[in-house]
């Protein structure tokens, strides 16, 4: 695969790993949070932790859109899907996400709900056109990456004068969540967040550019390196973060120049701002309510808002009190520190947000990395 294999080159990776090993100050820790679930997946999938010195630790952040969706929002979607007139369409990773009491869209489907997995928002429009007598609802989730397709879909529905189509909007924003992680140090008696730098989002940054992170870097004095999802991208970004820390810099650097420019994708941003506006606050599973972190439809498009159309009402469901996701998402605890991990909480029966999709910190550790819990890490 041209343009993929080049970014998985073992020899180059070993060279970068060597440079990291040479340049780290062994007297101090380096704790870097990768915000994006995609990066968490890459770390686990390629075993990057084995290639880093012992004092460089990756903290898996909350950037998996499926994981941070509160159980209450899943319950709302399930209630909606159980209505006989509704066809609920959504992306594949939503299907197994647990709501309260182990409910999920997959289980609702088995009980008769018409839930359909789609790959593209266009598929949802097609389903609405093919089923004029049914109400087709698109379960919209995701960060800034998946928001533009939803915006375009809504404008397409308007153009096609579809009257049986609406959107259950759960789109969230990255920069407010990063701020929340840094601001909420110690607030919940879960300990202090100690993060020395961020691996900045890849696909999200293609849309929003690098400027939204400048405030975070400046305000909190943390270096941020925006990077791609390939393993070599990440190794290089870690080296760039090590250098910033060593040189006491806290800048936004862009390793992902082949895809990200400073201003982002202007056309996509315009589509989004035409259709969406900020919610005052939005609940994140694991983080709690985060101000101005979620999107809803603008007044001109409220006829496509499923929450209003079906009078859905907000449902709140508390997570298992023993669940340590809030601390794990902030890097204060590791998955193995949670007493539920691997016992009652596994990818088959996830209890908390971090176990929900393969991009969650706990699921990634369980699926790819748990053998390390049973072996000594070789000294590097």
């Amino acid at each position: 695969m041209k343009y993929v294999h080049e970014f998985r080159d073992k020899e180059i990776a070993l060279g970068v790993a060597k440079a990291i090993g040479t340049e780290v100050d062994l007297a101090r820790p380096y704790r870097f949070m990768e915000f994006c679930g995609g990066h968490t997946h890459t770390i686990s999938r390629y075993g990057l932790e084995d290639m880093l010195p012992n004092n460089v630790r990756m903290v898996h952040g909350p950037g998996c859109p499926v994981c941070v969706l509160p159980a209450g929002r899943i319950d709302m979607a399930i209630h909606l899907a159980m209505r006989p007139e509704v066809i609920l369409c959504g992306y594949g990773d939503l299907m197994r996400v647990p709501g309260s009491q182990g409910a999920s869209l997959l289980k609702a489907k088995a009980r008769g709900a018409d839930v359909r997995m789609v790959y593209s928002t266009i598929d949802a429009i097609r389903i609405a056109e093919e089923n004029p007598a049914r109400e087709v609802v698109f379960f919209a989730i995701g960060f800034e990456t998946t928001t533009p397709p939803t915006a375009i879909m809504i404008r397409l529905a308007e153009k096609k004068k579809l009257s049986n189509f609406s959107v259950f909007c759960n789109h969230v924003l990255t920069p407010p969540a990063m701020q929340n992680i840094l601001k909420s140090c110690g607030i919940r008696n879960i300990g202090h967040v100690e993060i020395d730098g961020f691996i900045g989002p890849a696909h999200v940054s293609v849309i929003i550019g690098t400027t939204p992170y400048e405030f975070v870097a400046e305000e909190f004095g943390k270096p941020i390196v925006i990077t791609g999802f390939e393993p070599l991208d990440m190794m290089q970004a870690i080296l760039m973060l090590v250098r910033q820390v060593n040189e006491h810099r806290h800048e936004v650097e862009n390793q992902y120049r082949r895809a990200v420019i400073r201003d982002g994708n202007l056309r996509a941003k315009e589509e989004v701002s035409n259709v969406f506006e900020l919610r005052d606050r939005f609940e994140w599973r694991g983080l709690g309510p985060v101000p101005y972190s979620g999107l809803r439809l603008k007044p001109a498009y409220t006829k496509y808002d499923a929450e209003l159309r079906f009078d859905m009402g907000e449902l709140c469901v508390a997570d298992n009190p023993a669940c340590k996701c809030a601390a794990i998402l902030r890097g204060i605890r590791k998955p193995v520190d949670c007493e539920l991990f691997g016992k009652i909480c596994t990818p088959v029966t996830p209890m908390g947000s971090c176990m929900v999709s393969s991009e969650g910190a706990c699921a990634a550790h369980w699926t790819y990395g748990r053998f390390r819990d049973h072996q000594q890490r070789p000294a590097s």
Binding site: M1, D50, R116, Y368, F371
Partner: protein
């Protein structure tokens, strides 16, 4: 009353409930379509069962159900899959497959032309595998009660005296061999699913593996500990299953695992791991280190094993982990798939 019945209208006709009612229509379907396609002396006798002789050795028996959607896919259809899948389950014991049964559960309205095509392909697949479909059953269910056509099979075969392939035979240091590229079948099927059609030249690897197995047994004898065909759940599920049953772990080398570039590309796009994707014409063999090279050479000399590779070894591990050194230089677990394989959005 005369036994007159209009000839089966293969090109335009459909299955209706009378084809499963036990009456003339059913008899006509069986003789006019299935016997024609499977043609052999056992079926010709028209009994409710078939008697057959078996030579020396132990008998093996297996059963399987086929519910694949879509029914026709690049490289095969539900009929060829039913023959190959059943033959392979028998072959994994090191056995020579002999006879199959085939039960058809057909949805009302199913096109006779499709049924004929499937039956003919099935007959052809059986003939080329040297097995006979010697008994069968036909049921028709109302529209909406089945997804077009389901096929259930049973198969019997004979294992040569002294050969006993089983997971408990595996030992630390045994080598893991794979007969070819992974994920072809699963990706070929996915490329034709209604909500996910994408253009690709990938075809299913569906094939009967008993001849390859015979050549491997010839080369490796008792050094072959066990064989499995990594179907649903892919290589990951098969090796985790063997690890648990043999009380061992495995360590794989990702670089050694053969995956076709277009399958790898499709997996990238869909967010899937080729190690979790189904195969229908591949086998995994756990063999002693002494015979590994000889068995591998025998595999590579066979048309169904030309891409065969040694991909890892059995290790002592109380946790039964399947570990893998990634091609990037790190390490990870190759775990069972949790639930159905669902694509990621980002």
């Amino acid at each position: 009353m005369r036994g007159h019945q209009a000839k089966l209208d293969i090109s335009n006709g459909c299955i209706d409930l009378s084809h499963g009612s036990g009456g003339r229509a059913m008899a006509q379907l069986i003789s006019g379509l299935f016997h024609e396609a499977f043609g052999n002396e056992w079926l010709a006798r028209g009994n409710d069962q078939s008697a057959f002789d078996v030579g020396g050795g132990r008998m093996v028996m297996t059963t399987d159900g086929y519910v694949v959607s879509p029914l026709f896919f690049p490289g095969g259809n539900i009929g060829t899959l039913a023959v190959h899948g059943t033959v392979n389950d028998i072959a994994m014991a090191g056995a020579r497959p002999l006879y199959l049964s085939a039960g058809f559960i057909i949805e009302e309205g199913f096109r006779l032309s499709h049924l004929k095509m499937i039956a003919e392909c099935m007959g052809e697949a059986a003939r080329s595998a040297g097995v006979h479909i010697i008994t069968g059953d036909t049921k028709v269910v109302e529209r909406g009660k089945a997804d077009g056509l389901f096929i259930s099979t049973a198969g019997v075969g004979v294992v040569p005296v002294g050969l006993d392939l089983s997971a408990e035979n595996a030992r630390v240091g045994d080598r893991v061999l794979i007969s070819g590229t992974l994920g072809d079948h699963g990706i070929a099927i996915m490329s034709k699913r209604q909500n996910l059609a994408f253009e690709t030249d990938i075809i299913s690897d569906s094939a009967a593996l008993h001849d390859l197995v015979a050549k491997m047994v010839e080369a490796g004898g008792h050094g072959i500990r066990l064989m499995r065909d990594p179907t649903r759940g892919g290589l990951a599920a098969t090796l985790n299953e063997i690890a648990r049953q043999s009380d061992l772990g495995f360590r794989l080398q990702e670089e050694a695992i053969p995956v076709k570039p277009d399958v790898a590309a499709a997996c990238e796009l869909l967010g899937l791991d080729p190690l979790h994707v189904a195969n229908e014409g591949k086998l995994v063999a756990i063999v002693s280190p002494e015979v590994a090279n000889a068995v591998l050479a025998a595999m590579r000399a066979h048309p169904l094993g030309c891409d065969a590779a040694e991909i890892g070894e059995a290790i002592a591990d109380d946790h039964h982990f399947v570990q893998m050194a990634t091609s990037f230089g790190g390490g990870r677990i190759v775990d069972w798939l949790s639930g159905e394989q669902l694509p990621r959005i980002c």
